[in-house]
Subunit: 327 residues, 2 copies
Amino acid sequence: MAPLGEFDLIARYFTRPVRRAALGVGDDCALLDLAPGMTLAVSSDMLVEGRHFVSTVAPERLGHKALAVNLSDLAACGARPLAFTLALALPAADEAFLAPFARGLLALAERHDCELVGGDTTRGPLTIAITVFGELAPGTALLRSGARPGDDLYVSGLLGDARLALEVLRGRAAAPGEAFARIRRAMEEPEPRVALGRALVGIASSAIDVSDGLAGDLGHVLRRSGVGAVVEVDALPRSADLAAQAEALQRECLLAGGDDYELVFTAPVGRREAVAGAARAAATPVTRIGRIEPGQELRFVDAAGREVSGPATSFDHFRPDPPASAT
Amino acid sequence: MAPLGEFDLIARYFTRPVRRAALGVGDDCALLDLAPGMTLAVSSDMLVEGRHFVSTVAPERLGHKALAVNLSDLAACGARPLAFTLALALPAADEAFLAPFARGLLALAERHDCELVGGDTTRGPLTIAITVFGELAPGTALLRSGARPGDDLYVSGLLGDARLALEVLRGRAAAPGEAFARIRRAMEEPEPRVALGRALVGIASSAIDVSDGLAGDLGHVLRRSGVGAVVEVDALPRSADLAAQAEALQRECLLAGGDDYELVFTAPVGRREAVAGAARAAATPVTRIGRIEPGQELRFVDAAGREVSGPATSFDHFRPDPPASAT
């Protein structure tokens, strides 16, 4: 097949009819007319092959995930997705990659009414950088800084499946074929909790999405809010596939997993009914997993209230991977 | 030196006091409160080592250029810079790179009152993706589609020095030491024409910035506007360093150079005084280099009006570099 040029690529795979944008792909800038009295929420994420995804991932799932991790940041602020830009470095202009990548990316974008308004394609090691824009009413964003002692602590969905899939790929854990297909999907096609984030505006006191592991991301909330927390590890929601693993591996996946893209949030005890209503409205399961405390400590307890040790550290893209522990 | 973690990196080099943003670096999203009745202009560019810059470039200049190419897109729309996000992949968390990179980047941002509001850092092959936001009054953006037959054709500043520097690095041209320092600076530290773009709002009928070469970028304007153009190659503004080169190389650098980051724009003949006023107000030299014609052809003529041949093609990141021609 003849190699595609940059302009052909943009036109073929990424040009869509303009919707919300006053001007979309094809000029120097995209132009967005925003509603007066709205605040723009902006988030950027970059995915690098070998670091954020394995080379064996299906391109359609990779397209989905690249946008999903950004939408997850909007969800954590309670913002409504509006538009995004895509910067894409590719080793070659390969249609066998681009067609399914665009399909996965744009299908998720369509479901969230989030318009691709511009970007850049270039040759280079496979790297995907997306910047997403959302809007919300001024002063309503869910921030990391709003947790207060006494607040309940919640998490959406299930934790740990993405990390378990990674451990199976690394050969540190085993899962039967069907189970592996399920947990691999959790790793490769996370569902951003946009509807829940929006439903929690005015209810939650703080929120963050879990991308680097529950313990690490909750730590950001605690530091920003100047509070501590206690987490009941036996209450952490997990799949039957994860529950079938050894206890130590379960805890590692639940607390230091990463790539969960669930929302961890806090709300006053008096808002339990409202939280349940938001979860129903968003058709998203929510589990109460602990509470915010005075101080600055993050403690973990089991069902009997006994303290258990947490993970050593949060995931950091510039630190070497943690050494494999015996599980 | 101890390796820096991702969060340390963000804090040390890229956290700045929040100005325009309602919320800056450090939460899931940046929050921007926009003026009511304004349109948001958005542009993304990705720079990959070995493709967009040579590994010998000084990190401070690289930081400058990474933002400059994005501000140049805002300039070509006539937008006022507002804020930007940075996604950065680095082989290692190297302070000897990061400190000067951040310095060059943030110095240019400061001069244009353009706030860094978020981003992502990760390990990977050196790749820089920036998304920049600007604002302008609805309906006032300079678009590629507005050129009309009879309009004058202009370019800002000088063309071709960046390409000449590349040819010297490739060994296809020679330049004495001082000249090389000047043209290398043109390549590595382009000055985005933000003030000129803003001054041309309401005056220019179309505009684009020259990133892939005059002929190719002007071609985008012609296709979008459904018009042709004639360019007087002897009128193209060039430095004394470029004028000292062989005629064929001069034309190659002027017409197919790339990395110029000058504005090419059109305006009705009746607005010549207004264009001159805008150039003075922006303290930016502007040269009339031809005119828009009916049809769809891009023609090149010399000072005597004789047709000369243009470059074969525009730069395309997915096509191999053009074969070296005899100069």
